[in-house]
Point group: C2
Chain length 272, copies 2
């Protein structure tokens, strides 16, 4: 199987129809979960809730676990790396151990790298794909700010990629999404500038949040996870700032980067 060593090569390989296929990654989750007969699904949490929903839909006995030890062996083990919302990043050794455990168990390891593009220097599991039992998900819309076009990728072994492609059928990806994706991926200078801009904006947001009494616990350059006093969600909401709450984690909020100066000012005002 041709390795997909980098994101740009992955896209090129995808266009050659070789080892990655794409539409929004969301729609791939139930397809990936159904690659194995119903068994045990474990998701390293807390994380994006759709992984658990998709695993349960495929008939797996599904549980979010809090430690790496509890994650494998499983029929389906899922990690989001870097994690949403915590920003937790797994190191190379950990990913290798997880992949080896899943291979030994006849299970599958799904590594969702939806937020990887903002920090490409962080680790990717794509080099583990040729060894088998590993599928890596990449998203187009988050870093490029075009979630609405619905474009995403699975990097997988040939047999898995062919199965996903058969399920997706011809014409899974909209023409406008393909055009947007090709144009965006061709513009590496924009990507490099955007990464600098995101880092600077995240650092600036952190100062606004700290000044407002919120403790920044983690995140990626695209969002920050904070510990917030009760009522913060409502206070931000009244100022027109939509942030993510967590039902079982009432003291935490995920806060996205403001789009512009007015957005920074509104956050600062709401937290004053």
């Amino acid at each position: 199987m041709p390795r997909c060593a980098g994101w740009r090569r992955c896209v090129t390989a995808c266009r050659r129809g070789q080892d990655c296929r794409g539409t929004g990654t969301q729609i791939l989750l139930p397809m990936l979960a159904a690659l194995r007969p119903p068994g045990i699904a474990r998701i390293l949490g807390p994380t994006y809730a759709e992984h658990a929903r998709a695993a349960a839909l495929a008939g797996h006995e599904t549980r979010e676990v809090e430690t790496l030890d509890a994650l494998t062996p499983a029929t389906l083990a899922t990690v989001v790396n870097p994690d949403n919302p915590t920003g937790r990043v797994l190191d190379a050794r950990t990913l290798g151990v997880l992949a080896a455990a899943q291979r030994a168990a006849g299970g599958l390891l799904v590594v969702d790298e939806a937020f990887h593009d903002a920090t490409p220097e962080w680790l990717t599991a794509i080099p583990l794909v040729p060894g088998g039992a590993v599928v890596v998900l990449r998203s187009f819309g988050k870093f490029h700010g075009l979630a609405g076009v619905r474009l995403g990728f699975a990097v997988a072994a040939d047999a898995v990629a062919e199965h996903l492609e058969a399920l997706l059928g011809p014409w899974a990806v909209a023409g406008p999404a393909l055009l947007a994706g090709l144009a965006a991926f061709a513009d590496e200078p924009w990507a490099q500038g955007q990464r600098v801009h995101l880092r600077q904006s995240a650092a600036r947001l952190d100062r606004v949040l700290a000044h407002g009494g919120l403790r920044v616990l983690g995140g990626t350059p695209l969002f920050r996870l904070v510990q917030a006093p009760p009522g913060t969600h409502a206070r931000l909401g009244r100022a027109g700032i939509l942030v993510r709450e967590f039902p079982h984690w009432p003291d935490r909020l995920r806060i996205g980067l403001p789009a512009d100066e007015a957005g920074f000012a509104r956050r600062a005002g709401a937290l004053a």
Copy 2:
């Protein structure tokens, strides 16, 4: 279940999240085929080949049949109405008999009405949906000339619609597709004018084809099925006119409407 009596109401219901869900219909086919455990799938053919591919992918013993008698009972029975490429239209009594047979057999009847919008006066199976065991597919892109946006709909009973929605997940339909769909469906005067235009263009194309020695066997206003002497496909291809061949039906071609005057002239010239 709220009935989906007409296309415009169907779209409205869809926006209310009630009884139809949408993305391109293509991606729905394997999901529909997997609604029943592997069994017998029959498709009234010759027709769009993706129905057979999706049924086989879901593990059904799959066969295209040539007669209505051979179609039911089956785990999954599929008709395309009006048919692509023949233009065959099933009458109300036939559709009712098929639905009743599938209900009695515990099977599913899929009615693909992808080409319905050009001829809304032709019969739709949507009124059969509330009786159970019937799913109707509608396509946005064909009539509106925007296949690339990937928008389509399944009209189904609540439980089936909810299952499809769970598999599709949130954000299955791209934002640009939703905007295009809403704008297009709001423009009924355009649709009425387009229907007249398509009919007139089809009648004009029929004259060109007959003049060129091709016998028009059927079709819809969007395409014509013709009996053609050997070599016609290559002759049209050399003139830049791409038409659909049928591997097991070598004397027939499906020919789409020309887009403009130059297209009519090119077809006439190639057949002269």
